[in-house]
């Protein structure tokens, strides 16, 4: 029993020491990002820039990497406008931006378009950026938020802010998750979503840009129909140039619904 008491006291004492360490260290609480509603009509340039600064330090998580520790360029340490112009003039620059605002927006939405030397993912030779796209999860900044951050970055060095203040119709949140695209429930709705009838004769359309689809089920197999949508260049009729766009956002379910519907179109009805 004596042994048990001694062992228990030692154990509890040691545990309390560890707990104590947790108590003496700085305490921080991390709240989940909240959806605050921004009254766009009341925004001024100053408050827009201030919103951008708040986002830079907070919800945008920019300061997590863009600081003096070397993981990403420390944006607060140099003139961002001047640097943007220099980078657009760099022969390595392959992007589509023509002004500072465009460059900054491109850096946030497509970070791998241009990676500053030395900051690329390990082994990629600066071709790939470790930065996530800010309009996607987990950061998920809205257009309003992105604009505010760009405004902040332009303003902080004393350069003119070229970002237009959003108007009331542009949206009224500062970074809530964009609504998840609604999944359609029927083949007709899916085809309306992707605009098939704009080029093909199907449903009530008489378009002739692409092959008519009212009898596609008797002309092609299920695999061919599927491939036409997923990999048009491999299957498309020689008479038509490859004008059919790709649908990277089409879900498998939507694809199956459309293919299933088309497979049943054997031309009997018309």
């Amino acid at each position: 029993m004596n042994v048990l008491v001694k062992v228990l006291s030692f154990s509890v004492a040691l545990i309390l020491i560890f707990t104590g360490v947790a108590y003496v260290l700085p305490q921080m609480e991390g709240a989940a990002p909240e959806e605050t509603v921004v009254d766009v009509g009341e925004l001024t340039i100053e408050s827009f820039v201030a919103m951008g600064e708040e986002l830079y330090q907070g919800k945008g998580n920019c300061a997590l990497c863009h600081n003096d520790l070397g993981r990403a360029p420390d944006l607060l340490a140099f003139d961002v406008t001047r640097a943007s112009r220099e980078r657009m003039a760099d022969p390595r620059y392959q992007g589509a931006a023509s002004d500072v605002e465009g460059y900054l927006r491109e850096s946030m939405l497509q970070p791998s378009m241009y990676v500053v030397e030395g900051f690329g993912t390990k082994g990629s030779g600066d071709a790939e950026s470790p930065m996530p796209a800010v309009d996607k999860p987990p950061i998920q900044l809205s257009e309003l938020a992105i604009g505010a951050i760009i405004a902040y970055l332009q303003d902080k060095d004393g350069n003119p802010v070229t970002v237009a203040l959003p108007d009331a119709a542009a949206g009224n949140d500062d970074g809530a998750a964009p609504a998840l695209p609604a999944l359609v429930q029927s083949a007709e709705a899916a085809m309306a979503k992707y605009g098939c009838a704009a080029c093909h004769a199907i449903l009530q359309s008489a378009a002739t840009l692409g092959p008519g689809l009212n009898d596609i089920g008797s002309r092609q197999s299920i695999e061919q129909i599927r491939d036409s949508i997923v990999n048009p260049a491999a299957v498309i009729d020689e008479d038509y140039l490859v004008m059919m766009p790709e649908f990277p956002n089409m879900t498998l379910g939507e694809l199956k619904m459309i293919v299933g519907f088309l497979a049943k179109q054997s031309g009997d009805q018309s």
């Binding site: 560890f18 707990t19 260290l25 997590l64 070397g70 993981r71 999944l183 956002n249 379910g253």
Partner: protein, 614 residues
């Protein structure tokens, strides 16, 4: 008893055949689940309606509320399940190894010790299952939307998990209860094979459950935009973090299990009533510590791999853990690991007193201790703390000029790898303490060993300082692999050289039991620190998901979707540790009780409770 030495090839053949069966069973079980999903793949127009569904997006009001914080409740239950799961999976691993050693050396002590360890594992097994069931119930009750989604993603794999438990239970019971019945000759081979199968099933259980965890952190096999499950079960399971977590948990389980049974041995040592018992439990404690430290040494590398994969998957997630709001947890981690290293080393140093040959090496202990302490101080130094404006002015910046550089990874890497090398040195000195080396080339061997230590240490410091502070980030990060390999080089060459140099060595007498009681407290400190550390790191792993149930796919809108303060974390971890300690005492008591036999009450009504092996 018939000797089986006439049929060695037959025995070996049987063992191999059964081992192959293990592999086949495992693979088939896994493939069976995968195969049925593969046939229902993208080519098939018929698809279950479930795959169209996006991930649920419950709002705050949708979460069930039972009056206490759901997160805290699930936290404790999950942590208890993980503690016990780790224990019952780990113990059979080293029990099998010890049994094999006993089998090959024909030394009964090893076999008896292995048997005794299994007794602990068996009692813990039921508690593990109870916590597992409670965890499942609480998850379905409190997070129904998440569980709907996870069931949708994993499908029948969860039934495979359940089925494996039947297999695990059968094997466990036969392995333990059939120990004495399958003791010698061919039957021993059968017993060993059962042990191997038990471990194979246990490991499969581990990796299956790990897939749920890593799916939540880094989902795969789902549509990134909507969360719809579009991949087959392999794609869902084999995310980027799955294998790093598998390796890390497998090794950590062994280290943890060794530490826990070491505490059992230490307790029995302190309560021993005669020198034979003392000697027996001293030896048991040493063996447990050996296992624990042996498994502990590669653990930082596995943890490093896990962290590297987290960074590769999402730099944001990685930096949040070690450079953002969760960074302070790694300062606490430093305290824990240094406790573990100091306890392990201290136990080895005090243990050296068992042999008279240890005097030769005592001089080294103070240097090793110095490195450990200095390493701890560097590791625990934060990069910066929250200063007041006045303090910043006095400092001249956001970071302390001298301590600031110690707060970043290069310094910490140097510290931890030097500490690991020093721990291995203690190990090596202990193993040499009871031997006098007689091989003719010992001068070369010792010179080579010493050079390897010296150059490895210099290399680690060079790589850390030069690449860490004077080159760019990519080289800084890459240089840590140099440090890892240098440490591994020391450990591997140490083991190889010693094995070669010990051939024909003169063994000095080792007095088991001749060790101070103080040293046994080191064997308690080890599992306590391990337990607390496991809970702490488990919290980090969960917390880096921030406000997501399934990262980037299913947001967490529950009332608990914030990151709690360090004090809260400390309290919860302590609560889990104390609970675990209580259950552990219960388990030890039961293990002890099962070996006790009351004598019949004598005619003079003088009942006596006698201890003894059943």
């Amino acid at each position: 008893m018939r000797s089986d030495s006439r049929y060695p090839s037959q025995r070996a053949g049987r063992f191999l055949l059964l081992a192959l069966m293990v592999l086949v069973i495992d693979l088939s079980l896994a493939q069976a689940t995968a195969a049925e999903q593969l046939t229902a793949g993208a080519e098939n127009v018929e698809v279950a309606a479930a795959s169209l569904l996006p991930a649920p997006n419950p709002q705050r009001a949708d979460y069930p509320n039972i009056g206490v914080s759901s997160r805290n409740l699930v936290w404790i239950i999950a942590q208890m399940h993980l503690f016990f799961g780790a224990l019952v999976l780990a113990v059979p691993i080293f029990v099998l190894v010890i049994e094999i050693i006993g089998f090959r050396t024909s030394d009964d002590r090893y076999d008896d010790m292995a048997h005794e360890f299994m007794k602990i594992s068996l009692t813990a097994y039921a508690i593990t299952a109870l916590f597992g069931g409670t965890l499942a119930l609480s998850l379905f009750l409190l997070y129904p939307h998440l569980m709907t989604y996870l069931m949708r993603a994993f499908g029948s794999q969860v039934l495979v998990y359940a089925a494996l438990f039947f297999l695990e239970s059968m094997l466990l019971y036969i392995y333990y209860y059939g120990w004495n019945a399958l003791r010698y000759g061919n039957r021993k081979w059968l017993h060993l094979t059962l042990g191997l199968l038990l471990n194979a099933v246990g490991t499969t259980l581990l990796v299956v459950a790990n897939s749920w965890t890593t799916f939540m952190m880094a989902p795969s096999g789902v549509d990134p935009a909507t969360g719809a499950v579009i991949g087959n079960i392999w794609e869902v399971m084999k995310g980027p973090l799955w294998n790093p977590l598998n390796l890390h948990r497998f090794i950590a389980n062994v280290a943890f299990g060794g530490a826990v049974v070491g505490a059992y041995a230490a307790f029995k040592f302190l309560s021993a009533k005669n020198p034979e018992e003392k000697a027996h439990y001293d030896w048991m404690g040493y063996s447990s510590n050996f296992i624990s430290i042996l498994a502990f040494l590669p653990l930082p590398f596995a943890g490093y791999w896990l962290m590297a994969e987290i960074y590769a998957y999402s730099q944001q997630m990685g930096i949040l853990a070690m450079g953002g709001i969760l960074a302070w947890l790694f300062v606490i981690q430093a305290v824990l690991i240094c406790t573990i290293l100091l306890a392990g080393n201290y136990y080895l140093w005090t243990g050296m007193g068992r042999s008279e040959g240890a005097e030769r090496y005592r001089w080294a202990i103070k240097y090793i201790a110095t490195v450990l302490i200095l390493g701890f101080l560097v590791w625990v130094t934060p990069h910066n703390i929250i200063y007041t404006a006045a303090e910043i002015t006095r400092l001249g910046g956001g970071n302390h000029p001298v301590l600031g550089p110690l707060g970043i990874m290069p310094a910490k890497n140097i510290a931890v790898f030097l500490m690991l090398i020093c721990t291995f040195l203690s190990f090596q000195l202990y193993r040499r303490a009871d031997k006098v080396i007689t091989v003719s080339w010992q001068n070369w061997g010792n010179a080579l060993m010493a050079s390897i230590y010296a150059v490895a240490i210099a290399n680690i410091i060079f790589a850390g300082v030069y690449y860490g502070y004077f080159t760019n980030t990519v080289y800084k990060v890459g240089s840590s692999v140099i440090q890892v390999m240098s440490t591994v080089f020391v450990i591997v060459s140490g083991v190889v050289l010693d094995t070669l140099m010990f051939k024909g060595a003169k063994t000095l007498h080792v007095t088991w039991g001749k060790v101070s009681s103080r040293s046994q407290y080191a064997l308690f400190a080890l599992p306590i620190a391990f337990t607390w550390l496991m809970a702490l790191m488990g919290y980090v792993r969960t917390s880096i998901r921030t406000h997501w149930h399934v990262y980037t796919v299913m947001p967490d809108n529950s009332p608990d979707n914030f990151i709690p303060t360090l004090q809260t974390v400390g309290n919860m971890v302590t609560l889990a540790t104390l609970l675990f300690l209580s259950f552990l005492l219960f388990i030890f008591w039961i293990a002890n009780l099962s070996g006790t036999r009351q004598l019949p009450i004598a005619a003079d009504n003088n009942p006596a409770l006698a201890g003894g092996k059943a």
